[in-house]
Amino acid sequence: MEKDKKNNWEEDIRFVARHYKEGKLNTDKAWETFRIRKEIRKVIPWRRIVAVAAVLLLLVGFRSWYIWEQNRPEWIIISAEKGSVKNISLPDRSNITLAGGGEIRYNAKVFSKEEREIFLSGKAWFDIERNPAQSFTVNTLLSKVTVLGTSFELWDKGEEVHVYVTSGTVSFAVNNVEESVILTKGMSADYRAGQKEIDIDTEENPNRLAWKNGQLIFDNTPLEQVIKDLSDYYDTEIFNLSGEENVQLTASFNHLPIEDVLLIINQTLDTKLTPKQ
């Protein structure tokens, strides 16, 4: 049986080889001859052309959709209600403490994968997970803060922006000033829209993070600074209705309502501090 098959195969080859002639038995040529002889019009396979075009279109469409979908940002937006403080953990294990009225947003599709970039409005304290391969950037309306791994406070007030470094090194850049400034622990920088340069303050202010800790500390602090810290802390304007100015305060307050704090100060310093109604 096996032998038969082999013989068959060899016979087949011998037969075909014996009659083989280059260019003979050409199917396409034969059809052309036939077509012309019988005056058959060339069949244009419209259905197939349409089908192929449809498939191609579908593929192109799907591909475009896929690219669009891949590039479409997926914004995560987190905000803190006024008067509250919100703790946020980011996918890269950085932590953010967001002050009341503040908002952050980041693109979940690329954050911590391709880049670490977030957008802030309002005030927040950042504790950034160290990653030398991927710097962390915070954008505000006016500025851009870039770090590798530090902690700092950034306060976007719309027309002005403040940054205060609590550890490590921070690069602070603003839109209209070419050169960025490098800030280290304890340093702060302020910028107001329209200014030609960034103001740097090297003096530490223990109350910068009072909004976060709930603790206000005054140590021979001039009244003017006290009023400023209280205004920041309670997010309201505070006026001194008495003429008293050249006094200093030493005290600490822990999570106290504004009325209690002002009452204590007024009684101690004989002032008339009052919040804007």
Binding site: W9, D12, A17, R18, Y20, L25, W31, F34
Partner: protein, 172 residues
């Protein structure tokens, strides 16, 4: 109502042309005659397309028609010679003959696609019956090269045979 559309006819033509030619070739022994016969057979079917309702088993109909035409042609040619030159008409069934013609067609295709030099060597050996040493001398190459080229050509042909064999198996 026609039995088939032009497009269907074209597809049948292209699928069946070569096997039918090789089928006819077994009787005529001449490719030009074989091609003429197949063209004529298809032309007949085409001319009758408005008359016939349907051709049951288009393929075997064509094979039968080609065989009849081939035998007619051969008997005309051999009218004045001895009948012993008539090709041996085997007793195998039409289905087996179709299978054989299709095998031939595949082998023809493989030979068609062989690289130029390999095809030349193959045909010198199998068609012209030359020995490997004669081919080597004719082409001024080594016998080893001839053997090598023949091996590759035969392998290509054998692969087709295996493919057909597998296809049949898978159909069963």
């Amino acid at each position: 109502m026609e039995a088939f559309t032009t497009r269907e006819f074209e597809l049948h033509f292209k699928a069946l042309y070569k096997p039918l030619c090789l089928f006819a070739l077994r009787f005529t022994g001449n490719t030009d005659d074989a091609e003429d016969i197949v063209q004529q057979t298809f032309a007949d079917v085409w001319d009758k397309r408005n008359v016939i309702e349907t051709i049951d088993n288009f393929k075997s109909y064509l094979y039968r028609a080609v065989r009849n035409r081939s035998i007619n042609l051969v008997s005309q040619h051999t009218m004045h010679t001895t009948t012993t030159e008539l090709p041996e008409i085997t007793d195998i069934s039409i289905e087996e003959e179709i299978c054989q013609a299709e095998r031939y067609a595949r082998l023809w295709d493989v030979i068609d696609r062989l690289p130029h030099e390999r095809k030349k060597i193959f045909l010198m050996s199998k068609r012209d019956g030359m020995k490997y040493s004669e081919i080597a001398e004719e082409l001024s190459i080594s016998v080893k090269t001839v053997e090598n080229q023949m091996g590759k050509a035969l392998k290509a042909l054998r692969d087709t045979a295996v493919y057909i064999y597998r296809l049949i198996l898978s159909l069963i």
